[in-house]
Symmetry: C2
């Protein structure tokens, strides 16, 4: 009875991921029965995966809240985002050139993971038309959006430029984010002075869009930066 209830709970969780969109309950249950999944629990504050860890598999958080942190190429600044299940962890690292995570994920509350190995993932792609189309659609859409960015008009004033810089570093465009960056680095990235950065941050803070700490920016709701 418990096993059946757990299955039902997982089916309804997976339904919320675009990767399983359009599948009937029956197909999802069949997948759960057939595909060997690894289930793992991670305690609060523990890493789920660390930057550089091998992916090459399908990693999903199916329960709990967690953070994802990414670092600049020179490790001088970082961005942490607060997320909740269900979520895929860097699906683009299951295949391709770089099959390692480029972000660190850490549990905030107890988290439940579901991991499908590369072999099982290949089998799933082979067996399920819907899964295969969903996966190709997710990767293609992400690539289309990512490639569009360079053709957008450069933001005009400093407030827009700063907001644009922050937004461009988020994996998910909404929610709570913490940017750890020195004011000097922000000035370098925006090709302006430290004073201009400081004034612009003060204006954004006055509008409640972020608060400025020592070497960090706390952004309560990233989506508000877009307006």
């Amino acid at each position: 009875m418990t096993a059946v209830n757990t299955d039902l709970a997982i089916v309804s969780t997976l339904r919320q991921l675009p990767l399983f969109m359009g599948m009937s309950d029956m197909e999802l249950k069949e997948i759960l029965a057939r595909v060997k999944c690894l289930y793992r629990k991670v305690g609060p504050g523990e890493p789920i995966v660390s930057q550089g860890d091998r992916s090459g598999s399908l990693w999903m958080v199916v329960g709990g809240t967690f953070t994802t942190t990414a670092y600049s190429a020179d490790y001088d600044y970082s961005v942490t985002e607060y997320l909740h299940a269900p979520a895929l962890l860097q699906i683009e690292c299951a295949f391709g050139w770089q099959q390692r995570f480029t972000r660190t994920y850490k549990a905030e509350t107890p988290c439940n993971l579901m991991i499908i190995s590369k072999t099982e993932l290949q089998q799933l792609c082979s067996d399920s038309l819907i899964f295969r189309i969903n996966l190709l659609n997710i990767l293609s859409t992400s690539l289309q959006k990512s490639r569009m960015a360079v053709w957008a008009n450069a933001p005009k004033d400093m407030r827009d430029r700063l907001a644009h810089f922050l937004l461009s570093h988020f994996e998910y465009p909404a929610g709570h984010k913490v940017f750890k960056i020195r004011m000097e680095r922000l000035a370098e990235e925006l090709h302006t002075s430290r004073l201009t950065v400081s004034n612009t941050l003060r204006a954004l803070a006055a509008d409640g869009l972020l608060s400025v700490g020592r070497g960090s920016l706390d952004i309560p709701a990233a989506q508000l930066l877009r307006d």
Copy 2:
């Protein structure tokens, strides 16, 4: 006899595309025999596909040389690249959110196209493990590279910034490119003055990296801009 020779020629052409990497001659010939392909010839100067045309299929140029042109979101500047067969045309537009070309392709010499419809493409993904893995790897690798860009250190001096701006707009990182952009727009994009842009372009021109025309930059070998 001619049909056999044509088949052999196409097999050896497709071999050069990462999408068919790792397939035996036998598997490639079987694919050509089984999958319905549309073949099309395009004369010099004629469009192969135009920005906004429906993709949703696998488009390949299997013979000839051609250009690809992309426009900024406000159509104020454009970039043309000179390419040669064999090549895939925006594979990321076969699937996903936006199944229309975001670039225009035009024949320079007589070009031969090979088009595999979405239905046949789905069948190919279902039947061939190698094809499916290659497709997932190509999309994933492109996405990984595209997402990395935002974490790179901002280029420091104006010469690097200008080169970086130009390079970031190329689909292929090497070869002959023509950038149609006004000096004022370049200054806006780089958040600097028209005079600084003009001086920096003169320095790049003196090093033979580009030549400056009226509202256009001719870059003979884009790869040299990277050094």
